[in-house]
């Protein structure tokens, strides 16, 4: 998600740069009473002076703009998983969230009889929690918890990190 925002910001920056320069150049041409370079001035003038606020095109443009704005707002305001999570005992040290998830899943998968482990780290950067889901016998749960805890210790995760482990029984094809 942050990468989408970054790309969109780069595009916005390019668009502002191009539009600003184009507007400046076109305004200079207007001042010098020269022909427009790229903007069809006469067409735009004719259209904007003949289009009323009651026109359907106005409401169409407004609804599209509003809908895009609403989508952007929803996308930005919904909770995002943290990019990185804090390490315990020291300020300014973090572990990338994705790394933490991969390592926790790998730790769970290292337990004999446990497969397809997936880990999710959620919460805030400073106060986070981990949830591990895997396929395996429920008897393996303490071993998985122990492996996950050991991995968290290796990462120097804060002691307050809550860990949830859920194991689903492996389906057997008979």
């Amino acid at each position: 998600m942050p990468i989408v925002n970054r790309l969109a910001s780069v595009l916005l920056g390019l668009a502002l740069l191009a539009a600003g320069l184009l507007a400046a150049v076109e305004a200079v041409l207007v001042g010098l009473d020269r022909k427009a370079l790229w903007i069809p001035r006469d067409d735009w003038y004719a259209r904007l002076t003949t289009t009323g606020w009651r026109d359907n095109s106005v409401v169409f443009v407004a609804v599209v703009a509003g809908a895009i704005g609403l989508l952007i707002l929803l996308f930005q305001l919904r909770p995002w998983p943290p990019e990185r999570v804090a390490v315990g005992g020291v300020d300014g040290w973090y572990v990338q969230r994705r790394s933490a998830e991969h390592r926790l899943a790998a730790a769970a998968s290292s337990v004999p009889g446990v497969h397809e482990a997936r880990a999710r780290v959620r919460g805030r950067t400073g106060k986070w929690r981990a949830a591990v889901k895997a396929a395996g016998d429920r008897d393996a749960r303490p071993a998985v918890e122990q492996a996950v805890r050991a991995e968290l210790e290796r990462m120097a995760a804060p002691e307050t990190v809550r860990v949830g482990v859920s194991l689903a029984r492996i389906r057997r094809v008979t």
């Binding site: 009323g52 790394s99 990462m155 120097a156």
Partner: protein, 200 residues
């Protein structure tokens, strides 16, 4: 720009678009806060006012266009700085001209410049050479008196963060001894993965 900065920017863009959309719909249904809108989007009243500005109209548009272009340029430049910090400037030390002090015959005047990117490379290479660290990305921001350090470390899966911290602190101590810069704030993000980092 930081992720938080981008998120704030797009929240504002979303709000502006939503507000414009709502305003357009209200204007269409003639419910625009009791204001009687002109018949055309580009009204003749506005056009008369604009013509009255002559010859300042095009000059105002040129200035506004340049401001918008500058904003776009700033945004692009900010996106290049993912840490959201201004990079450190080169360090310059001026020694006084020896002619000013005839008693000191050995003095040599001049200016010493230490390039900031050389300092960044030095710390990065030192960190990447350490046992238990596969690679590092370093950014130094702030100023010479208040340097701020942002580092990303690539670590192998068996890395113990507490040991890495000790190694890191030693590397920063060496950096301080060499450069004279004592970071006032340090941010270290660890990336632990199985894959070996790309060879530069």
């Amino acid at each position: 720009m930081t992720n938080r900065g981008n998120r704030t920017l797009w929240t504002i863009v979303g709000l502006l678009l939503l507000a414009a959309g709502v305003a357009g719909v209200l204007a269409h249904y003639n419910r625009f806060f009791g204001v009687t809108l002109p018949s055309a989007v580009l009204s003749f009243g506005f056009l008369d006012w604009w013509r009255g500005l002559d010859p300042w109209g095009p000059i105002i548009v040129v200035a506004a266009g340049l401001v918008v272009a500058l904003l776009g340029f700033w945004l692009l430049r900010a996106e290049m700085r993912t840490s959201g910090r201004r990079p450190l400037h080169d360090l310059r030390t001026d020694a006084p001209d020896p002619r000013a002090d005839p008693a000191d015959e050995d003095a040599v005047g001049g200016r010493t410049t230490v390039r900031a990117d050389a300092l960044v490379r030095a710390l990065r290479n030192d960190l990447a050479r350490q046992r238990g660290i596969r690679g590092a990305k370093v950014a130094i921001g702030g100023s010479a008196t208040v340097p701020k350090l942002a580092v990303r470390l690539d670590l192998p899966p068996d890395a113990q963060i507490t040991q890495v911290r000790e190694t890191f602190d030693e590397a920063v101590a060496r950096f301080t001894t060499t450069s004279g810069l004592r970071p006032t704030s340090t941010e270290v993000t660890n990336r632990i993965n199985d894959a070996l980092p790309r060879v530069r």
